[in-house]
C-alpha cells in the first residue's frame, strides 16, 4: 500500500455556527473528494450532538495566513497605541458608568 499524497482527498477546513446569532467558528478539518461530500462528512463528524445549525467548508489550500515568523513586525503597529482602549482615559467618578 504505497499511495502517494496525490491520491488523497483534499483537505477542508470546517466552520460551524452553533446557533442562530453566533458566528461560524473553526472547529477542525477533514479530507473529502468535493465540497458536498465535505459538508456531509462535517455534519457526521462535528455535529453528532446538535452542535451546529450551519456549516461552512473551505478548501484548506484557499486560506492565506499571516506568517508566524513575522508576527512581531506584522502586529507591531498596534503595540504602542494604548489610547485605543477605553481604560486609557481617566473620567471623574461622579460621571458614573461611561
Amino acid at each position: 500500500m504505497n499511495t502517494t499524497a496525490l491520491k488523497e482527498w483534499p483537505l477542508w477546513e470546517i466552520f460551524v455556527r452553533s446557533k442562530q446569532g453566533l458566528e461560524h467558528k473553526h472547529c477542525g478539518s477533514l479530507h473529502a473528494a468535493d465540497a458536498s461530500q465535505a459538508l456531509h462528512m462535517a455534519r457526521d463528524v462535528y455535529t453528532r450532538r446538535q452542535e451546529g445549525v450551519s456549516i461552512w467548508v473551505v478548501p484548506s489550500a484557499a486560506i492565506t495566513a499571516s506568517n508566524p515568523d513575522e508576527k512581531g513586525e506584522f502586529f507591531d503597529p498596534a503595540a504602542d497605541k494604548i489610547y485605543r482602549h477605553p481604560t486609557f482615559y481617566e473620567i471623574p467618578d461622579e460621571v458614573g458608568h461611561m
Binding site: T3, T4, A33, D34, V45, N67, P68, D69
Partner: protein, 337 residues
C-alpha cells in the same frame, strides 16, 4: 476513546529521540523554550525542534490508531447487542471513536505528515496502538467493562492532554473529552443492569472485569522509573502528569465504583493506605504488556488484518468519490467555457 500513555517506540532501536539543536537553531530554540516555560502554546506554523515534532507525530498518530483499532472489539458486538437500545448506544459509541480518530489524524497532519503516511504506518505494523485492543471481547459484559474501565482509564489520560503545549492536539482532546463521559457512563450503566439480573449475568460481569482490570492499569504505560521519554515529554508540556500518578488516580476513582457495582477487583493486594491516602495495588505484569506491544498479544494479527482489509475494501469508494468529483469539476468548467 483510548490512549495508552504511549511513549512506546514505534520501531525497535529508536528508543529515545536525540535533542541536539544546531548552533543556527539556538536562537529559535531559546524562543521555543521560553514559550514552553511560560506555558504558551505551539501552533503548526511555528518553529519547533525536530524532536518535538517527531514525538508529537508518534504520540498523536498512535493515539489516532488506537481510536480506529478500538472500534473493532466493540464493533464485534453491534450485531449481537442484547436489545435495540444497547445496539443504538453501541453504534453511537463506535461512531464517536471513528470521529475521535479523525480529530487526531487531522492534528497529526498539521505536523507535516500526510494521512496516507499515517495509515501506512498503522497498516504495515510499524506504528503502535493501545495494546488493550489486542485482547478479545468474549462476552457482552466486556462491552460494558470497556466503557467503564478502558474509557475510564483513557479519560484520566486525556484530561491532562487538553492542556498539551501543541495547540491542535489540545483542541482535539477538548472535543474528545466532551464526548467521552457518555462512553464511560453507558458502560457502567450496562454493567449495573446486568448486576441486577441473574447470577449468570453477574458472573459475566465479574469475568469481564477479571480479564480487563490489569490490562487497564497497564494502559497508563510503564512505571515512571522505566519511562525514559517521560521527562522530555513533561519538559515540553506534552505530558502533564506522570504514568504512575495517573494510574493511582484511576485506581482511587475506580475502587468505590466497583463497590457500588458489587464486583471484586482481581487484586489481593488492593487496599486503602491510610498514610498515603491512596489505594495500594499489586504488581503489573510488564512482560505481558511488552509482549503484546511487540505484536504477540492474542489478537494483534487479527486486529491488524481486519483493519487492513477494511481499508482495502474501501478503496473503490475513495476512487469513485474522486472520479465523481473530477467529473463534476470538468462539467462545471465546460459549462463556464
Amino acid at each position: 476513546m483510548y490512549t495508552q500513555s504511549f511513549n512506546v517506540p514505534d520501531q525497535a532501536g529508536q528508543k529515545t529521540v536525540a535533542v541536539t539543536p544546531s548552533t543556527e537553531d539556538a536562537e529559535l530554540m531559546a524562543r521555543f523554550d521560553a514559550r514552553i516555560d511560560a506555558d504558551g502554546r505551539i501552533e503548526p506554523q511555528d518553529w519547533m525542534p525536530e524532536a518535538y515534532r517527531k514525538t508529537l507525530v508518534r504520540q498523536i498518530s498512535q493515539h489516532a490508531h488506537s481510536e480506529i483499532v478500538g472500534m473493532l472489539p466493540e464493533g464485534n458486538w453491534i450485531s449481537r447487542a442484547p436489545s435495540l437500545k444497547r445496539k443504538a448506544i453501541l453504534i453511537a459509541k463506535v461512531q464517536d471513536e471513528g470521529g475521535h480518530g479523525l480529530y487526531l489524524y487531522s492534528a497529526a497532519e498539521t505536523l507535516g505528515t500526510s494521512r496516507d503516511q499515517l495509515l501506512e504506518g498503522l497498516h504495515s505494523g510499524k506504528a503502535k496502538y493501545s495494546s488493550i485492543f489486542n485482547y478479545p471481547t468474549l462476552n457482552w459484559a466486556d462491552v460494558g467493562a470497556i466503557g467503564w474501565l478502558v474509557d475510564g482509564a483513557a479519560i484520566m489520560n486525556q484530561i491532562p492532554l487538553c492542556r498539551c503545549s501543541y495547540g491542535p492536539y489540545s483542541r482535539a482532546m477538548v472535543r474528545v473529552c466532551k464526548e467521552e463521559s457518555f462512553h464511560q457512563r453507558q458502560g457502567y450503566e450496562a454493567l449495573l443492569v446486568m448486576m441486577k439480573g441473574t447470577q449468570a449475568q453477574r458472573d459475566m460481569v465479574q469475568d469481564a472485569v477479571n480479564r480487563l482490570w490489569w490490562k487497564c492499569l497497564a494502559m497508563f504505560g510503564p512505571p515512571d522509573a522505566d519511562s525514559p521519554n517521560s521527562a522530555q515529554g513533561m519538559r515540553w508540556g506534552i505530558k502533564r502528569i506522570s504514568n504512575d500518578d495517573l494510574r493511582q488516580k484511576f485506581v482511587d476513582a475506580t475502587v468505590p465504583q466497583a463497590k457500588v457495582l458489587g464486583i471484586t477487583l482481581p487484586d489481593p493486594d488492593l487496599k486503602w493506605n491510610e498514610a498515603r491516602q491512596h489505594y495500594d495495588y499489586g504488581q503489573i505484569d510488564w512482560q505481558e504488556f511488552w509482549d503484546t506491544v511487540e505484536g504477540n498479544g492474542p489478537c494483534n494479527k487479527e486486529r491488524l488484518a481486519t483493519r487492513v482489509k477494511a481499508h482495502n475494501d474501501g478503496q473503490w469508494v475513495r476512487d469513485a468519490a474522486q472520479a465523481y468529483a473530477r467529473k463534476q469539476q470538468e462539467r462545471a468548467m465546460k459549462e463556464a467555457a
